[in-house]
């Protein structure tokens, strides 16, 4: 049992009935993030299951992306703890890969596809180590997994939105992590890209890795994901899609913004 697990157990003053934090690829405790005086994420707890594929779902402005960024320490946490495989995330960053929103970068940046993928090897290459053939081949293999090997030497601005998203995924694959955090990987991509991405993510899960996606398309949650985390600033519900992704929970998450008729169209599991 790790130190942290012990501490948690003793803090609660009772025997550990819950799974140990060390077993969870990502454990979030009372995480609060604020921009200015308004909380963007308020006291969210979550325990991501090992080798699961979890969708973070909620309305616009619910703090989904902010939650991911706060987990990674890209935006400051006001309070709360983030444990990855039982350790503070800062100590195990090499086990975490992150795919930001495609629209968050300037695709006119002067660089080639292969160079973007090689950025995934930054932790290995450090400041001055030269990129060798082996590194290049690994980057090419990652591009191949997303069906983009032929585009290695293209300038990134020449890619379509879907191709850009695949390049971002290839960069995350190059990180060879155990926990993949993706921010809206399916936003604005073509059907072929969506298929390619979901195949890669499912393959990752098959390799006993854990995938967490901020996801906006309610219609595909049941098909793509095993677990779901519903948030709207606060956590609404968390658990397997079959029991958690229910009309009632969605109504709570979206409030009046999600019409009953819309919910009826979703292939919701019968609780």
């Amino acid at each position: 049992m790790s130190e942290v697990a012990l501490e948690l157990a003793s803090n609660e003053g009772k025997a550990v009935a819950k799974p140990l934090p060390a077993d969870s690829p990502l454990l979030i405790q009372e995480l609060t993030v604020a921009y200015g005086e308004k909380p963007a994420v308020f006291s969210v707890d979550a325990s991501i299951q090992p080798q699961s594929m979890t969708a973070i779902v909620g309305p616009n402005g619910a703090g989904k992306s902010t939650l991911l960024k706060a987990v990674l320490g890209i935006v400051p946490r006001l309070s709360g703890k983030v444990l990855v495989f039982g350790e503070p995330i800062e100590n195990v960053m090499q086990r975490v890969a992150y795919v930001p929103q495609r629209a968050s970068v300037d695709w006119d940046f002067p660089t080639r596809v292969i160079d973007v993928v090689l950025m995934g090897l930054y932790r290995e290459l450090g400041l001055l180590r030269l990129v060798r053939r082996a590194h290049r081949e690994r980057a090419l293999a990652c591009l191949d997994r997303v069906g983009m090997a032929d585009f290695a030497d293209r300038q990134i601005g020449q890619l379509s939105g879907g191709q850009q998203q695949r390049v971002f995924l290839a960069r995350a694959l190059a990180q060879n992590a155990d926990l993949y955090l993706l921010d809206e990987p399916f936003a604005g991509v073509d059907a072929a890209t969506e298929r390619a991405i979901i195949d890669v993510l499912k393959a990752l899960r098959g390799e006993k890795r854990t995938v967490v996606c901020v996801h906006h398309d309610l219609a595909t949650v049941s098909d793509y994901f095993s677990n779901v985390l519903l948030i709207n600033i606060r956590k609404i519900a968390e658990g397997p899609v079959a029991t958690t992704f229910t009309a009632e929970n969605l109504q709570k998450t979206y409030g009046g913004r999600l019409a009953t008729a819309h919910i009826d169209q979703l292939k919701l599991p019968v609780a």
Binding site: K69, L72, G73, I74, M93, V96, A97, Y98, P100, R102, S104, V105, D106, W107, D108, F109, P110, T111, R112, D115, V116, M119, G120, Y122, R123, L125, G126, L127, L128, Q155, G157, Q158, L159, S160, G161, G162, Q163, Q164, R171, Q175, G188, D190
Partner: protein
Amino acid sequence: MGAEFVQLSLTPILIGILAAIACALPGNFLILRRQALIGDAISHVVLPGIVVAFIVTGTITTWPMLIGAAGAAVVAVIIIEAIRRVGRIEPGAAMGVVFTALFAAGVLLLEQTDTSGVHLDVEHALYGNLESLIWFSAEGWGSLLDPQALAGLPPELFRMAAAAFIIGVLTIIFWRPLKISTFDEGFAGAVGVPTTIFSLGLVIAAAVAAVAAFDAVGSIIVIAMFICPPAAARLMTNRLEIQVLWSIVFATLSAIIGYVLAGYGPLWIGRDHAVSAAGMIATVSGIILALACLFAPHRARIGAPKEG
């Protein structure tokens, strides 16, 4: 080209080249980060900082100037923040107001200060004194090998060379994290690049270049070199590595062509007075940018990604 060139033109051209490169290097990253105007801003804020540093210390040596400029930058940031909060003005406008106001205050302060003993006045602030940085002790190309003559090189040359060297070395050492954090700050943070330190470091590098160049070449060149060579270089290539090399080439060309045109150009067209080298160097950099816009291979920018 003989002794006269070495004595009168060699050192100004070298100083011009070094100043141009020192500013163009951080300029590449500032432009890609859409912070090109920070270079402009810094070169404005530098003036009151330097004047205050001179009033306090009575010298215009490097360290008091750097500290004065840094102090002025901090004051500028505080005033901008205050104006933005109290006045509810958008940040761009707040910046514009503060930098121009501080520069104007620097000019007033400079006028009221007795700087007769040193090279510090309003004209210097704008166009520097490139033409006056001559190598008195040089007698010809042979002087480059003569230790006694070398000792007489203007100190601005060493100051500028040191700044360009430090900025160049830092750019090479931190190339990888600098590139990653410029392209994708979120991802950079997630792979352990201290992004705040890098964006701050970039601004500091720009400030060092601006302060070092300020005294020798004036703020006109500083402003032009932060933007024109990197912007023209971007149109030559789609790879950052090559872009930076092009920016060095363009900065060097601007300095050489600009200085030569300013010194000899008027004679060629039958006028007797040389024109300001700083003004001409900045103009040449602008012409290079215009030519790049018209003829460079990657001027057709791809623009917004297509949804597909």
